[in-house]
Symmetry: C2
Subunit: 144 residues, 2 copies
DNA sequence: TATTAATCGGACAAAATTGTCCGAAATAAA
DNA sequence: TTTATTTCGGACAATTTTGTCCGATTAATA
């Protein structure tokens, strides 16, 4: 469904959100440890999120990643997915035709668009804050 | 969503179904031409479907691929996807945890399972015959 | 029987994704 | 000002996915 980079990116963003709620800025090392992901590779995807203004980074000692209290609510998962994986999953054809086009649809088009629309709505309406809340109360987990 | 191999596999299977309805057995060359896919790579994928008893192959002159009139209705897309991509898409965690587990769920679990279930139902209820019918009446297409 | 046309299967090659390493730049604190 | 700690960015490496090639096998037909 999502690329590894995107999976790490979402998990990392949720962890950053959780810690930002406590006012803590977190380093790549801590993040990778807490979400069980390869450090350097995770760093790369966090840079992507930073360049897309989804999270904020601060260099130097006491530096790290954080996200504004307000932004937690504004940032929805579709922004993260789009920043990392592009919009193939939002616009692409399920059977791999060059583009999804209702005027010359593939055999699966109608049924696929249905699923894709639901996925799109779900990702577009799920905020980092919402996901971090489940974590905070110990209902959900970022690693196992 | 699906791998390239899987996309080619489904498109090929639908084309084979369409031609089998006319009593025509088709070669890999014709299939690859009609669905606009790499020949040798498509051949590999068709071997997979053959080994999984999803389509039938006949060697030698006048040989090729076909599917029984009855099987067209029995073969659902989930069988093809499972044969080629395995069951990662049916059982995997959306955020990449080792396994999807409701007892120790990732933050996206509930919402993701929802989507995944819909996808699963859709693939499990869509037959090759059904998809071939859209093609036959010129409503859908396998290449552009 | 010989020829021909098709799938099968394994080895190989190319490209994309995933992952690592290291020096540069920034900045807080001694 | 120096040192230490962090992200940044580019080069590189490993792995997986995608794609190619070719000889072996099968079977129809001349
Ligand atoms: S054309 Fe294939 S999903 Fe729309
Ligand atoms: S645990 Fe992540 S989707 Fe179920």
């Amino acid at each position: 469904m999502f690329s590894k980079a995107c999976e790490y990116g979402i998990r990392a963003a949720v962890y950053i959100t959780l810690q930002s709620l406590e006012g803590r800025r977190v380093s790549v090392n801590e993040i990778a440890e807490e979400i069980d992901s390869p450090i350097a590779f995770t760093a790369k995807t966090l840079q992507l999120l930073t360049r897309n203004d989804i999270i904020k980074s601060v260099k130097g000692p006491t530096g790290g990643f954080e996200i504004d209290r307000e932004e937690m609510n504004n940032v929805k998962l579709n922004m993260i997915v789009k920043a990392i994986d592009g919009d193939k999953i939002f616009k692409g054809c399920g059977l791999g035709l060059k583009e999804c086009n209702a005027n010359k649809p593939c055999p699966l088009h109608d049924k696929f668009v249905d699923i894709r629309t639901n996925l799109s709505k779900m990702l577009g309406s799920t905020s980092l804050y919402e996901l971090a809340m489940g974590l905070e109360v110990g209902l959900t987990f970022l690693k196992r």
